[in-house]
Symmetry: C2
Subunit: 109 residues, 2 copies
DNA sequence: CTGGTCCATCGGATATTCCCGATAGAATTT
DNA sequence: AAATTCTATCGGGAATATCCGATGGACCAG
């Protein structure tokens, strides 16, 4: 992960519709959800949501897979993990104490 | 952290100038950097960068403190940590196995 | 108090994002 | 083959973001 990958990922998540959709997909791992279900959940028009989905896909946050007539969307957790590591790495670099609280709270897993 | 706090933080970081500035400030914790030094590093005009800095501040990612004629900017790591926890929480919720790789790599701290 | 430095904000031009309806392609159903 | 379902893309209008120079307030030095 570097700036060129992190920026599209951040921009993709920096929109209420896309952030909500991505979180919904994360919660539906690993089965995923069809595009239609996502459109329905968004409350937006089909075309508008399709554009949002393309932004998430281009950022590597969502992967799609054909299933007959539908397309199943799935969150690509690796990209999220890489993004978080990218953001956290600056802290760790010189000053581990900055990341300790983060690590402690993530211990919920 | 919730959507209303996460969205401005994500949007603030989703710009090359702001992301670079924030990362620079993180690396300069806990002393911080003056606004002037940040402007210089950005290569943009003073007014333009000032606007970017205001976006970071409004998102809670940067705190400022007067020091004579200058203003010292500092990264507010708590907000970054909360943002990352907000994004990670969805994974942890039902499926801890999704977060394990993230936790493992963060063990660098 | 005068001049200089540091920074935020305003005004305005350009570029980008966001939304929708309409259209079109791909796949199943009848 | 025809009709239906599912999704991506196009065209265009409205809103927002981004950039800069200019202006002004706060602060310090002389």
């Amino acid at each position: 992960m570097n700036m060129d990958l992190a920026l599209p990922a951040l921009a993709a998540l920096a929109h209420p519709t896309r952030l909500e959709a991505f979180r919904l997909l994360v919660r539906h791992e690993p089965e995923g959800l069809s595009t239609g279900k996502l459109v329905e959940a968004s409350g937006l028009s089909q075309s508008t949501f399709s554009t949002h989905l393309a932004v998430l896909a281009k950022a590597g946050l969502v992967r799609s897979e054909k299933d007959g007539r539908q397309i199943i969307q799935r969150a690509h957790i690796d990209t999220l993990r890489d993004l978080m590591l990218f953001l956290a790495k600056d802290c760790c670099q010189g000053r581990a104490e900055l990341c300790e609280p983060l690590l402690a709270e993530l211990a919920c897993c």
